[in-house]
């Protein structure tokens, strides 16, 4: 049906756009913006095309079978003397991330329309970033994965550092250093796998050696996990997140929260679980502990904030904890919930950051205590905000509820002993979430209108345009999550099967 290398196109179309932007004279700002928009729209259009052609009935990776389950595979030798190939493909796990990444990119480009300083550099870096993000989600070769992972980092440094808030320089270098330390952990593990797994970086070939010897697998799993945990971010590696999210400009916060955080959990599901299924099951309880700490600690921190963006940033930490909890349950409900939560958190947090940006553009402050009663003169804004806030809160009928519910359900059903109690603890986090979300709404939108803000205009067309798709997604997946679950089902069940089989053996043989 699709007879051209769609994954290559989808990945490199933004880079072509970036090259074009480089050629446009810097005074033609409108042209630069339109070129970026068009290329990102093509990027998103290709993702939709990919979705229509994707066959959800084929499961993802399977142990010992090279071409199993991955679709639209392209495999070309790249550096054959080091066993590195350009190997890309998608399955139910990555297709959702591909969609999320391209959708959020498109919305962020629309949100970037107001950029007026160094426009050429901004859009060049932004388009490069899109290529890096997409590459991470489609790579099946660890070397390629690592390259895209790092390529994404460099534009991000500049995007935070050049267009951010007052403490942007600090936030940018902090983000860079933290992520780089995570990458170092990953690189060491990849080299170790390369040497043990027969001089190849190919993920599917490396999977043929599963199970790896225990005393090799354990340290590698832990190091890889830490590498990804910094990106998620898990407590105690989370301190880069509030700085980066708050200092970055709106569109960049949207990308950070909407896409970049997902790379951590994606990496664990894509690399750690299939390569070390037995260790993963053993690590279920530690992972659940970290997940619960993230959920509750993140929520408490969010409760304490007066800065709108900071609140959303900490709520991300809390929500990513739910993803990890779902992953740690080793049940099909848990896995489905985790992946769905990754997607939903991406769209809902993007919405919240956009809304924070909208209000900051108008009022030039994000201090929630200064606002009040904005619902009176900004009804459209208030409406969208209500959707976003209630979605984040986990109200049934909106998207995040489904992911959370499935994750918790998974925890209650989990074959891992004592997982139930983590579900109990995690659900208390929901109460705190309700607290900060409702308090947020109350402080900004309800109560008496502060006369200082009486003249703030409501959403304009561009803002409605960028928010509407996200609102629709939040409603659609809240009411009818079936299509999304169908997309991932075969892959997630395959992953579950893969992890649980050797685990059963391990658990019986452990002393």
């Amino acid at each position: 049906m699709i007879d051209f290398p769609i994954l290559t196109w989808i990945t490199f179309v933004p880079l072509i756009g970036a090259a074009l932007v480089l050629l446009i004279p810097r005074t033609r700002e409108a042209l630069i913006k339109w070129v970026s928009l068009v290329f990102t729209a093509i990027h998103f259009g290709l993702a939709i095309l990919l979705l229509t052609a994707f066959n959800p009935d084929i499961g993802g990776m399977k142990l010992g079978a090279i071409h199993s389950g991955m679709q639209f595979v392209e495999r070309v030798p790249w550096i054959p003397n080091l066993g590195i190939s350009y190997h890309v493909g998608v399955d139910g796990l990555s297709i959702l991330m591909v969609l999320l990444s391209s959708l959020i990119s498109l919305i962020a480009i629309i949100s970037s329309w107001t950029v007026s300083d160094r426009v050429k550099e901004y859009f060049f870096l932004f388009l490069t970033l899109e290529t890096g993000m997409m590459g991470v989600f489609v790579s099946l070769d660890l070397f390629l994965f690592f390259i895209f992972w790092e390529v994404m980092l460099i534009p991000m440094y500049f995007l935070i550092g050049m267009w951010g808030g007052p403490r942007r320089k600090y936030a940018a270098i902090k983000f860079f250093l933290y992520t780089l330390i995570g990458s170092i952990f990953m690189l060491v593990c990849f080299i170790a796998l390369y040497l043990v797994g027969g001089n190849t970086f190919d993920l599917l070939e490396l999977m043929q050696h599963v199970p790896y010897p225990f005393y090799f697998a354990l340290p590698v799993f832990i190091a890889l996990f830490i590498g990804f945990a910094i990106k998620i971010p898990l407590w105690p590696f989370h301190t880069w997140l509030p700085d980066a999210h708050v200092e970055a400009s709106t569109a960049i916060s949207v990308i950070l929260a909407g896409v970049l955080l997902k790379m951590g959990t994606y990496g664990i599901l894509r690399i750690c679980y299939p390569l070390f299924p037995d260790i993963a099951v053993m690590a279920a309880i530690p992972m659940a502990i970290m997940a619960v700490v993230n959920i509750i600690y993140g929520a408490f921190l969010a409760l304490n904030q007066t800065d709108f963006k900071k609140l959303v940033a900490y709520s991300s930490i809390s929500h990513m904890g739910i993803v990890l909890l779902g992953m740690a349950t080793f049940t099909d409900h848990g896995f489905h919930g985790a992946l769905l939560q990754m997607f939903n958190h991406g769209t809902v947090t993007a919405m919240l950051f956009l809304l924070a940006g909208v209000i900051y553009d108008r009022a030039h402050t994000r201090d929630m205590n200064l606002f009040g009663g904005l619902g009176v003169n900004m009804p459209k804004y208030n409406g969208v905000m209500a959707v976003a806030a209630f979605a984040a809160l986990g109200i049934p009928g909106l998207s995040i509820f489904v992911g959370e519910f499935l994750s918790f359900l998974g925890a209650f059903e989990s074959p891992i002993p004592n997982m139930l109690w983590f579900a109990v603890l995690a659900t208390t986090g929901m109460v705190i979430t309700t607290g900060y979300i409702v308090w947020l709404l109350q402080r900004i939108y309800y109560g008496t209108l502060n006369p200082r803000w009486a003249g703030l205009p409501d959403l304009d067309t561009r803002e409605i345009l960028m928010l509407t798709p996200l609102v629709l997604v939040a409603f659609f997946l809240g009411v009818y999550p079936g299509p999304a679950l169908d997309l991932m089902s075969a892959t997630m069940n395959g992953l579950l099967e893969m992890t649980m089989q050797p685990a059963a053996i391990q658990m019986t043989t452990l002393p």
Partner: protein, 477 residues
Amino acid sequence: MNINYSLIAPELIIAFVGSLVLCLDFTFKQTPKWVWSWISIAGLGVAFGATLWVGGPGELMLGKVIVVDSYTAFFRGLFILTAILTLIITDLYKDLPENVKGEYYCLVLYVTVGMMFMAASTDLVTLIVSLELVSILCYVVVGFMRRDTRSVEGSLKYFVLGAVASGIMFYGISILYGLTGTFQFHTLAERIAAIPPENELALLFAVVVILAGFGFKISLVPFHMWTPDSYQGAPTPFTAFLSIAPKAAALAAMLRFFWVSLAGTAEIWQGVLTVLAILTMTVGNLVAITQTDVKRMMAYSSISQAGYIIVGLIAFNEMGQYGTLFYLLAYLFMNMAVFIVVITISNAVGSDQISGYAGLGKRAPFLAATMVVAFLALIGLPPTAGFVAKFLVFTAAFKAGYLSLVIAGLLNSVISVYYYFNVVRHMYLEEPHPTPVMKSPSLYFVGAVSTAVVLLFGIFPYQLIEWCKTWATAVIF
């Protein structure tokens, strides 16, 4: 004795052109200096052609003191390229007085000849002679800006410490000679294997002392004290040269000598070098953070890079061999790219302070981008050749079981981000420095070539790795 002179044609050509430039410069004092520069560059170009023509037949010559193999050919090419790029950028450097430029060209050519012999030598005496040729000429060129006290200071420091280091190294070599009765690399290997156990302590001492001498030449910590002062004092184009070529030459000689002659004592030098490598990376990077002068920062950066490069030597396996060559070639281009920008800024602002780089992203977008790419390569981030180079040497070390070295090296990459990106921060995130930047086509040319090479071999390293493999196999002849 029948000597096949065609095999050392590149050296002969360069030596001849060097002498020619010197004589012409004395005779025709009025001729503008760029003429001599282009004659030198043309001579180097011919020598490069000769290098390709000679190739690496693997013949021992001149009484078996040098060998012309593909490994030699690689280093000949590397040194010639470095010299060409150095001469191109020298023309644009304002602070070097016009009247000394003729001698300068000649000396750079002679240094190149010395380095080529270093890489080719298979005999300790030849090695010493060519090493001293290189060192003494370098002392002179570092002190070339006679009116600048920093230049004189750098030169003197370099000379005094260099002389001590050479002395120590010769002492070690004399002990080795006493133990084995030979200077020849491969005879040494056989005789070292036959050394009776009671003499092993003397052997150990000799190896460690020789290592210290080499350590000085490639500026390993704790023998690095001369580096920042001489790098800062030297004319900037020569700093670029100094940070690349003599280091590569010492490393070339070291690889051959250690891998061929001292293969039997591998555990000793691998152990000592592991400690030195970790120290070198860490000290180099940590001290670089505190620098405010870009030339000094680059001096410490080049110290830490030496620490990374010898990781390939320590690994002592096939991947380490070709990884080292790959690293050196990539390093040539990334360092050149940085120094082009340093020269431009020094011409414009008149100092090398990091604050002079403020807002370079706006003042000269191309140069700033060149610098960023070069820094990414020096840090070892993809998609640059620096990443592939580090990947190769660290994987080689991992293969050889040096996990601690790999982890130390990678953590050091993170540390190095801090000071490289300090400059990047100035270039992009700070308000522009008021002085406009002069744009010169030849600097842009060298910058564009370096950046293109760094990116090209970062994204498509396959062919270069294959070539490095062929060049490297000749080390052990």
